[in-house]
């Protein structure tokens, strides 16, 4: 297993449960700090203490899973072995690539130049989110630009949630009228999924957030406070909060034949890599069309552990991931939306997972409580690889208003 993040940890734990004790499971990671990534959104607003979000990676693994604190240099597909940064090599029968994504800060001109960490920020890393908390607290007004440079990014709704929380944050400080809040995206709308886009665009409008679409950021000038798009459009800011470009892990980029142009692993619905049948991929590391989100890794975990077990037994992997994604969208003022969808079915109205459940695509306090409670569920059920009652890999349709959604 390359990577001890959400996907790697839950997959290793699920496999430990299924495989025979004679089968060895080894998880590689460069450090022993497992970060609860959904918490990053809350750090800039003082709603989550940074230290609470980090725990030991090794401590999240079941007994019988070996953790090796070593960076992976590359995968040698021809000889079925992993080569580590310290020069070691470990042969495998099955490899699971769970190496996630890397923030490709260098891929945007000027992003980390003058003004980085002062006028230009990101909350996509713990140091970034922590320094942004100071910048938001000290912000005296002007144009606050929240933007997404290009897909794919982890949790694609997070920058929108940031806008909603910023609106709440500055209203509470009685400063909202001195702040021009703008959401900037490379997409042609606030969000890609149509029904969801309508709900989210409506929320942006209601909260007085200006929407700038099809802005493909080519250059950041933190000293002047200006973004320039590839088509030469410009936009100014006093404070910018950007989701940087994402790429697959460097070890994937260094492994001949494993990754695509952006170092994501071309992956089939069985979660086998297209490169070789004994290589699997999970979570953000894949090139699947699903969101890069923890819920996706969770739903994939069931498919992956089933298929790896079959593969090791000499049987054909027969489970397929349907693109099931589920996410809470924090909308400020102690409310949140919930969306649930897959490759075939758009986010809809209704209730999740059954008529007695959380409201879908509607702001509610219950969803906000669900989002907060998720942190405990993450450490206690998702990472240990437990099945959560009623919430399986296949998307539930029990109370989805498939025609009425709008």
């Amino acid at each position: 297993m390359i990577g001890g993040g959400t996907g790697g940890t839950l997959a290793a734990n699920r496999l430990r449960h299924r495989l025979s004790p004679a089968d060895e499971i080894v998880v590689f990671d460069a450090d022993d700090r497992h970060l609860y990534q959904p918490g990053l959104l809350f750090v800039p607003f003082g709603l989550a203490p940074p230290a609470r979000l980090v725990r030991s990676r090794a401590a999240q693994l079941r007994r019988g899973v070996e953790f090796r604190r070593t960076a992976v240099e590359q995968v040698d597909l021809d000889h079925d072995r992993v080569i580590t940064a310290d020069g070691g090599a470990l042969p495998y029968d099955v490899l699971v690539v769970a190496s996630g994504t890397r923030l490709a800060l260098e891929a945007t001109d000027g992003l980390t130049g003058p003004g980085w960490g002062k006028r230009v920020h990101t909350f996509y890393s713990l140091p970034g989110a922590t320094s942004l908390a100071g910048a938001l607290a000290a912000f005296e007004g002007g144009r606050l630009l929240v933007g997404m440079i290009d897909l794919p990014i982890k949790c694609p709704v997070a920058p929108l949630e940031f806008c909603f929380l910023a609106d709440w944050f500055f209203r509470r400080k009685k400063m909202r009228s001195s702040i021009q809040l703008t959401y900037l995206t490379s997409l042609d709308a606030a969000f890609t999924k149509e029904t969801c886009n309508r709900a989210l665009s409506g929320l942006l409008e209601r909260k007085g957030v200006e929407l700038v679409t099809e802005f493909a950021t080519g250059e950041v000038d933190g000293a002047q406070g200006r973004l320039t798009a590839y088509d030469d459009r410009e936009t100014d800011f006093d404070l910018a909060v950007l989701a940087p470009l994402h790429e697959g892990a460097s070890c994937v980029a260094r492994s001949p034949g494993l990754g695509d142009a952006l170092a994501f692993v071309p992956t089939q619905p069985t979660l086998q890599a297209k490169a070789k049948p004994n290589v699997f991929a999970i979570g953000d590391a894949t090139d699947l069309r699903a969101s890069k989100a923890g819920s996706v890794a969770h739903f994939e975990g069931e498919v992956l552990s089933h298929n790896v077990t079959r593969f090791l037994a000499g049987e054909e992997p027969d489970a397929r991931f349907d693109g099931h994604t589920n996410c809470f969208i924090e909308t400020g003022f102690d409310k949140a939306l919930l969306i649930d969808f897959n490759d075939e079915i758009e986010p809809t109205l209704g209730h999740f997972p059954s008529p007695v459940g959380l409201p879908l695509l509607k702001e509610s306090r219950l969803n906000h409580i669900g989002k907060l409670a998720f942190e405990q569920l993450y450490w206690r059920a998702i990472l240990p690889g437990r099945d959560i009652p009623f919430i399986g890999a296949s998307m539930p349709l029990a109370d989805k208003h498939l025609e009425k959604a709008e």
Partner: protein, 105 residues
């Protein structure tokens, strides 16, 4: 669904003008689709991108996004925006007769 006529041949497209069936596309249609999008002349550089979009779509079932397009062809993103001003991946896909690139959600 909509219908368009290029070089005298009727083809089905989605509401935004992307081909419903990429096999109905011919190279002869490209200049006409491009002209309707404000590209008066297709240069060799345009064709390099159009043919790449076709190949990628045929191999992978989805057209690449602009970053993958730039990394794989070696054409800088800035130049891609000059060639296909309204969004290179989308526009090149339309002219190449393949469905709108999905990107990720």
């Amino acid at each position: 669904m909509a219908t368009m006529t290029y070089v005298g041949i009727e083809v089905s497209t989605d509401a935004e003008g992307f081909f419903a069936d990429p096999s109905k596309w011919t190279e002869a249609m490209a200049p006409q689709i491009a002209a309707a999008e404000g590209i008066a002349e297709l240069t060799d550089r345009h064709w390099q991108v159009i043919r790449f979009m076709r190949d990628e779509y045929e191999r992978k079932g989805d057209a690449p996004n602009v970053r993958a397009l730039s990394k794989t062809t070696g054409i800088p993103i800035k130049e891609l925006y000059q060639l296909f001003p309204k969004g290179p991946a989308k526009l090149a896909a339309k002219i190449a007769g393949v469905p709108k690139p999905h990107g990720c959600i």
